[in-house]
């Protein structure tokens, strides 16, 4: 049985918020840069 879809309070908004910045730490990696 499929769960009933909750149709209340679902304003239109982007499903995926585009990330403009991604950050990674390279601390501990050797030979990078």
């Amino acid at each position: 049985m499929a769960p009933a879809q909750d149709a209340q309070s679902a304003p239109e908004e982007p499903v995926v918020e585009e990330t403009l910045v991604e950050e990674v730490s390279i601390d501990g990696m050797c030979g990078v840069y």
């Binding site: 918020e17 585009e18 990330t19 403009l20 910045v21 991604e22 950050e23 990674v24 730490s25 390279i26 601390d27 840069y33």
Partner: protein, 103 residues
């Protein structure tokens, strides 16, 4: 991401887009097809700037009296500006960009 506030990178003042900013001298920015890679020699953090417009904003900060002017000069659409301000706030928090003295 539960702990916002601890750590040396967050010791600076809060991000204020009304102020002039610049890229940190501890940062190297390398243009890439997707935008740019940013490496911070102090924190050893690598950041990916994922749009060319954001790269233009970040690299052009020092030529503008405040962050809003840099965003406008880069041609960022009005609707996208909150996302850019949020991204820049993150870059300020990790030390990639710094508030500079008003000239």
């Amino acid at each position: 991401m539960a702990d916002a506030g601890a750590g040396p990178a967050s010791a600076g003042p809060a991000f204020d887009p009304e102020l002039p900013y610049r890229c940190s001298p501890s940062v190297a920015l390398r243009p890439e097809p997707f935008g740019a890679l940013v490496y911070h020699f102090g924190t050893r953090k690598l950041s990916f700037l994922k749009t060319p417009e954001l790269v233009t904003v970040v690299s052009g900060l020092e030529n503008h009296p405040d962050v809003h002017a840099a965003i406008e000069a880069a041609g960022v659409e009005e609707a996208q500006r909150p996302a850019y301000l949020k991204a820049l706030a993150g870059l300020a928090a990790n030390g990639t960009i710094l508030a500079r003295e008003t000239q």
